[in-house]
Amino acid sequence: MKLRNILLLPVLALAVIACDNSNEPSIDAPATYEFTRNGESTVSFTGQTTRIKMATELASAMLDFDNSTEELLLEMYRNEAADGGNADPFQNPDLNDATKNIKGKVAASTDYFASNTQVSAEIKNEFESWISAQVNEVFPNENSLATEGEPGQIADGSSTRYVNGKGFEYNQLVGKSLIGALMTDQMLNNYLSTSVLDAGTNREDNNEGTLAEGSNYTTMEHKWDEAYGYLFGTATDLANPIPTVGDDDGFLNKYLGRVDGDDDFSGIAQEVFDAFKLGRAAIVAGAYDVREEQAQIIRERISTMIAVRAVYYLQSGKAALEQTNPEYGTAFHDLSEAYGFIYSLKFSRVPNSDSPYLSMQEIDNMLAQLEANNGLWDIETSVLDEMSETIADQFDFTIEQAAN
């Protein structure tokens, strides 16, 4: 086998040389995500950082049995009171002062939802129904053991999980589905889209260096940065986020780090970061083809990352159920995460297309299978395999690669 590869080398080398006469302008991407104009930074994504922090507080408040109420959790989701008035639901006062909120950006991308507002509203409300159910179904049963059809607590190793009557953790449904509905949708289907980057006079302004009002950036630069912010907006070093990737939030960043840690996908985090850097440098240089190529790379990698985690958790859940003594708590936790990642695939994006890797209908069918009858209490492991296959079939990885 080795011998054959060696003999192939000259052929490969020729191919590489042949490719070299492309006439694309060469763009020098900087080593870090730092861009300046007149000595001042042009990079800004504070709104994204704010929303990641809001989602972090919401996810943890869903398990704060002593202090959280339905009203409070919904206020965290909306950052306003039920009557539309001002609310201060967050521990971090900066978040209370912010004019941003989570709900407004859920299922709200230009490409997928601008003319699909009914579905957008359904998805936004689905999160509210999970939040309310956590307080109304699970909170009252904090101190009872979960059984088939009855919410309560269940052991997962030495951790305790709190599930509904079908075995789902609402906090995981919210947390993992936000990865798709908020971060991924905004990134892949809004800020990296030509419809947004090239909206109005953006290209002309960018070509001529016309800055957005009161800012040091062009609108196009800023849109690209906002996409970046949903992934790296809470990084320890915002311009050089790879050293801590996976540790900086509980959403996209965390799971990009996790998938990067799997040998079958190592390097994916660097590839995404490089594409963001090069795409941003291309905007500065006015090289829109290069920008477009980078957007497609990011769409492909981020969508793949979500699919890998969906399959990973389906397979982990299956393994826990197949133990001699089925580990229900462990399986329920894994499959609640799987549910969220499958949900998130609704917001994935096939490069150079206008569609997700699986249709919303296909995804809703899978979710319905997980929820059918007594939900996770009586799910067949063969169904988990079928779902894993359905997902992996749409991507360039195998179930085995995702599962280990």
């Binding site: 086998m1 080795k2 011998l3 054959r4 003999l7 904090e142 101190n143 009872s144 053991l145 607590q153 269940i154 052991a155 190793g157 030495s158 305790t160 509980g250 965390k254 982990s316 001699t324 003594n325 708590g329």
Partner: protein, 369 residues
């Protein structure tokens, strides 16, 4: 081109085969059942029997103290707690069958214990000790807090059970905990003596669901997570970066953590060698299996390597303070040294031994989220 590749392959293959000489003994020919019989009859059942007597005594001492909370009865209770906690170190690795169903180890020995929750249970009452969320407010670590940790001063500790406004609740909680330890232990022992022993011994084949594969996995898991990490590595800060002295076993006793560690290490060594519980006799175990297969590592006999390494860990731990919390705070390097010695046998057993015995690891490090 293809043909050459294939030829090269065959040459390599033939060469690597002949290099090993005539094929060694086949793991399938070894009498696995003899090991299972020795483990079941000479180690596991006697260990649970001994613990069951100790937990009955612990409950009796708690009831006596509860009926008459005196300094002297507190001392007796502490003695019973120590005996039972030591006896528990011999069974903690056997988390299978009924013990696994009950999540026995998590009910008896999660530390650090949650003192806020303990106090809340005591003042509010109405607790259900079967809830997983209360695993960290019961068992030996919760008792440790109740008999050593309520105050620096023994007279004051006793006052929690006499003059405190919740004194009755303290007495009830104490005996509820000892009763639960005793009941769970009896449940596991009963299962072993009323059928599970035979099921365990008869399941003597190979493969992931055979008794030997499962027991060896449980043993190595215990050694890695509970002995190496729980007793030494976590308090020494191996996983967190900075030492966590409050995470030692028997923290409130201020002096019993080393005794528990030594007992647990001895139990692990005895299990590997098949040494009968509280006896000198050496029955069939992993050492004999490895010897039968002539297992070598770097030119030396793997059984000797593992046993020497156990001895090195024991020797390294000898210099440790009886109170591991004090050790962590004064000279954590000695703790780290002990951890390193223990870690070396994780590699010897989890990699080399499992490879020789053709057993797959059936657990992975949890995702952590």
């Amino acid at each position: 081109m293809k043909k050459y590749t294939v030829l090269l392959f065959i040459v390599f293959f033939a060469w690597s085969c002949s290099d090993n000489g005539p094929s060694g003994p086949n793991p399938d020919d070894f009498d696995r059942e003899a090991i299972l019989v020795n483990w079941g009859d000479n180690i596991i059942v006697p260990s649970f029997t001994d613990l069951s007597e100790a937990t009955a005594q612990l409950h009796t001492s708690a009831e006596t103290f509860s009926a008459s909370p005196t300094l002297q009865n507190l001392e007796t209770l502490r003695g019973s707690w120590e005996s039972a906690y030591l006896a528990f170190q011999h069974v903690s690795m056997f988390e299978m069958g009924e013990a696994m169903q009950l999540r026995y180890r998590d009910n008896l020995n999660i530390y650090p214990t949650d003192t806020t929750e303990i106090k809340q249970n005591i003042t509010e009452g109405g607790y259900d000790l079967e809830l997983p969320s209360l695993n960290n407010s019961q068992g030996f670590p919760a008792l440790d807090y109740l008999i050593h940790g309520l105050s620096e001063n023994d007279t004051e500790i006793v006052s929690y059970y006499t003059t405190n406004s919740d004194a009755q609740n303290y007495r009830t909680y104490l005996t509820d905990l000892t009763l639960r330890i005793d009941t769970l232990t009896d449940q596991v022992l009963d299962s072993w003596t009323s059928g599970y022993r035979d099921e365990f011994v008869n399941n003597s084949g190979n493969g992931a669901n055979s008794s030997l594969d499962m027991m060896v996995n449980d043993y190595i898991y215990y050694y890695e997570k509970h002995l190496r990490a729980g007793k030494i590595g976590i308090p020494a800060g191996v996983f967190s970066g900075s030492p966590l002295s409050s995470h030692v076993e028997a923290y409130y006793s201020e002096g019993f953590s080393k005794a528990l560690f030594n007992e647990a290490l001895s139990a692990s060594i005895n299990f590997f060698n098949g040494t009968h519980f509280e006896g000198e006799a050496d029955g069939q175990s992993l050492d004999d299996y490895l010897d039968y297969l002539n297992t070598m590592k770097d030119g030396a006999d793997l059984t000797s390597i593992i046993n020497n390494q156990f001895q090195d860990a024991k020797n390294e731990a000898q210099a440790l303070n009886d109170n591991f919390a004090a050790q962590v705070e004064t000279d954590n390097n000695l703790m780290l040294g002990t951890y390193d010695e223990l870690q070396r046998n994780v590699v010897n057993m989890k990699v080399d031994m499992l490879q020789a015995l053709n057993i797959n690891v059936d657990y992975v490090d949890a995702d952590g989220d």
